[in-house]
Every structure is written in C-alpha cells, then in structure tokens.
Assembly symmetry: C2
Homo-oligomer: 248 residues x 2
C-alpha cells in the first residue's frame, strides 16, 4: 500500500467520519503517476505516531480525498526516547550523522561545540544550517519508515549540552579514555520507556576537563570497545546497541 | 607512542635479538617529521595480530632500525571471525560499507551480485575495483587500530556467495520480509570463537527466491527491527549487534 505523509490539519472530522485531504505533489502522484482510482487504498502517516488506512473516494482538480477506514499507533518507534548530542564534526559529516542516526532510531539530535571541534559555524549561518539539517532529518525519517520527524535542536555550547543531556534518566558519554565500563554494562539496567542521552565527541574526542565536567553532572562514561570508531560511525553503533538491548 | 605498520619480513632475528627495519615514508616520518632520537620508543604492528614495542637504535640514510623490547598479541580483534557478504550497492556505497564495517570489526568482506543489484561491473574492471577496495580496507584497518588488514574477496555470484557463507558456523541473512526471528534471537546462542557470515542485500533487498535458496542452504533469516535501514547502514548495525553480544 503506498504511504503518504500529511499534516494533522489535513484530516477533517465530519460527525465522526474522518477524511484526509491530499494536495500538491502527493495528489498529483496518486492520480497521475500511480493512476489510482476511487476504492483503492493508501496509508497515511501524520508523522506524530499515527497511521491511517484510507480508501480513495474523490478526485478533485487539485485535491484527492480519502476516507479513513482505520487508525493505529505506529509500532516502529524505539521504546526509549534517545537524544543524540553530537559534537560538531568536520565537513558535511553532520549530515551523515543525522541521516544514519535517524534510521537507527534517534528521537532528537542536538549538535554542540566542544573544545576539539574544528568546525566553526557563524552565529548568522546557524539557522540556515539547522534548516538544512532538519530537511535531511525529514527525508531520513520518511525513508526509514519512522512515525515521527526527529527534531534537530539548536547548536549548543558544551555546557548547555551537558546541562540538557543530564535531564535524561540515563546519560551515556562515549569517552575513548574509558576502559572499564562498557556501553553494555551501562545499558543492562535500563528499564523500558526511559529517556536516554548519548553524547559523542568530534574527531578529537573530549578533553579530560570536558569528560570530568560531564561525569560530575551525572553522565556515565562508557567505552564502545577496543577499536577506534570514527565520530560518524559512533552514533549508529550506539543506537544499534540500544536497539539490541531494548527492542530486538 | 607512535604506531607504524610493517611487513613481517622487516623484522630480522639475529641470535634471538629482533630488530625492525623501517624504510620509505615511515623512516622519513620518524626522523624528520617526528624528529625522534635513539632511545625513544615506537609501537610496530605486523597487521597479523602481533604488536611490538621497540626502541629506536640506529638512523641510517634511508632506514631507521629499532630493537624489539617486547611483543604481544593484539586484543582488539573480535572474538568471532565475521565475514560480511554485501550485495553490490549503487554508486560508491561499497566504499562506505568497507570503511564502516572494518571499523566495526569485519574480518573479511565479499561483494556479490544479486537479482536486485543495479550496479554492473565489467569482468575486466573487477580486479581494478577490488584493488581499490583493498586499499580502502587497509586505510580503515590502520585508522581504527585493527590488528589485521581484512581481505576484500573477489566479486561472487549469489550462488557462490551463499555456498561460501554457509561454511560458517552461523549464517545470518538480513531479510526484510522476516518478521519473527530477530538478530538477537539468532545471536543469543553463539559461542565465542566461532565464524559468522552476515549476508546483506543491495538497495532492493533479496527476492523471495534468493531468500529461500539461502535458507535451504542453512542461512538463518533475521530481522534488524522495524525501521528500514539503508544497505550501507545495515552492515555496521549488524556488526555493532555482534560486538554487543559477544565482546562488550
């Protein structure tokens, strides 16, 4: 069944009968490219966790109307809400990080500046950057069948990021100097439906001072094993570990 | 301690005293760039699992000689030998797959053709491609601190790949139509020091016919969860799961 993404206000409830009003490219796609007809079925996601099975009922000039047959909450979202705090990496690697971590289940991604981040983003370019990242997030969410569009937060300072991250019930600092506690040790006691923050450094990792500050605020420093992972590999590795422990 | 990579024949054993003979760029790097002096220490890897702690003893015209102080077997290699069978993906994604899966612990990578592989590589270009992939493998192995250089096998047909893969003690077919057995179910009973084959499809996944053939030969079809992973994300996801289950 073809799937389309809509905003919640495209669903109209008339005396208990819900209809979905599809316009723009999607309407064109349904009627012209797919050549669908009244009576055929589509699935619609509101990207706020709900999925609607619909039957096409009307083809207007610039709109396709579908009647909602049934609705259900999507089951693709991870049991934990995982926020990824990613220190700004070099070049366009942030885009790779966003794309891959959304496939692997991140709920929210917050870029931050760390001592060893080489990339400098001008204050005036930040919003433009963020808008671009949000667009990548949207594409990745749709492509991987997510039921929400993960938000890309504003770029934070290291201190702000730690402050925010430490509000979660579990805070994992991926720290290369850690050689005792593995991510598995830290995850083994996670109860489901918790919030998890994952903090990942840029190419140079974290300074000892940064690590100490994070730990003093409540972060658990963990190792991802004996091989050195690139910063853009670390986030998917951690998200796979969390999925393995809590979902699979 | 700076680390250098050598071939085994660069180590000379004279009456029980081993010396390492470093030439070329590395010799230049030690004497000119790092400006190291006799008495300083380096670590040398033979990329065949052995690490040597050495003391610099002699600086010749085009060679640096170091005396081996101690040697040990590296402990960074996974407990299982994991061979990744990757159906040829589009564009230069095979390069990403090689780089990421070597960071994540792959022992060997074998590209293969599947029904839904779009990429066609001419027989005459295969060896050139493979040489390029092997070079990427070498770089990734060194960068991630591996103790071996994983081999990139020749491009196989689907049937050859399955035949080969099924010689391992555990054969995982990542199959999107699988909805019962998860990779965790399949890994839970793995004993350490086994060989594992991981088979991953190209963008379009596997046809039912291919999946049936693999299963009939002994592969276990597994799901990686409810979100759709791109082919270049799947390999690192699986390798992270294996590391989580067997190493961390």
């Amino acid at each position: 069944m073809p799937r389309f993404f809509i905003r919640k206000d495209q669903i109209i409830d008339t005396d208990g009968t819900k209809t979905v009003h599809i316009t723009g490219d999607d309407a064109h796609h349904i009627s012209r490219s797919l050549r669908m007809a009244a009576g055929e079925k589509i699935e619609v996601s509101d990207m706020q966790r709900m999925l609607y099975e619909c039957e096409l009922v009307e083809f207007l000039e610039k709109e396709v109307v579908a009647r909602v047959l049934s609705e259900r909450c999507s089951d693709v979202e991870p049991v934990c809400e995982i926020t990824l705090y990613q220190a700004l990496p070099k070049g366009d690697k942030m885009e790779t990080v966003i794309q891959k971590s959304i496939e692997c289940g991140a709920f929210k991604i917050i870029p931050f500046k760390s001592e060893r981040s080489i990339v400098k983003i001008d204050k005036k370019d930040e919003e433009k950057k963020r808008a671009r990242w949000q667009k990548i997030a949207e594409g990745a969410a749709k492509q991987s069948g997510r039921a929400i569009i993960p938000e890309i937060g504003p770029i934070m300072s290291f201190e702000e990021a730690i402050e925010n991250a430490c509000k979660s019930s579990l805070v994992l600092l991926c720290y290369e100097a850690e050689d005792k506690v593995s991510i598995k040790d830290a995850l083994r006691n996670v109860k489901i439906e918790k919030t998890i923050s994952v903090i990942i450094g840029s190419e140079g990792g974290f300074s000892e001072k940064e690590a100490q500050l994070a730990i003093s605020k409540g972060a658990k420093s963990v190792t991802l094993g004996k091989r050195i992972l690139r910063t853009e590999t670390a986030s998917s590795f951690v998200l796979a570990c969390i999925a393995y422990e809590t979902e699979l």
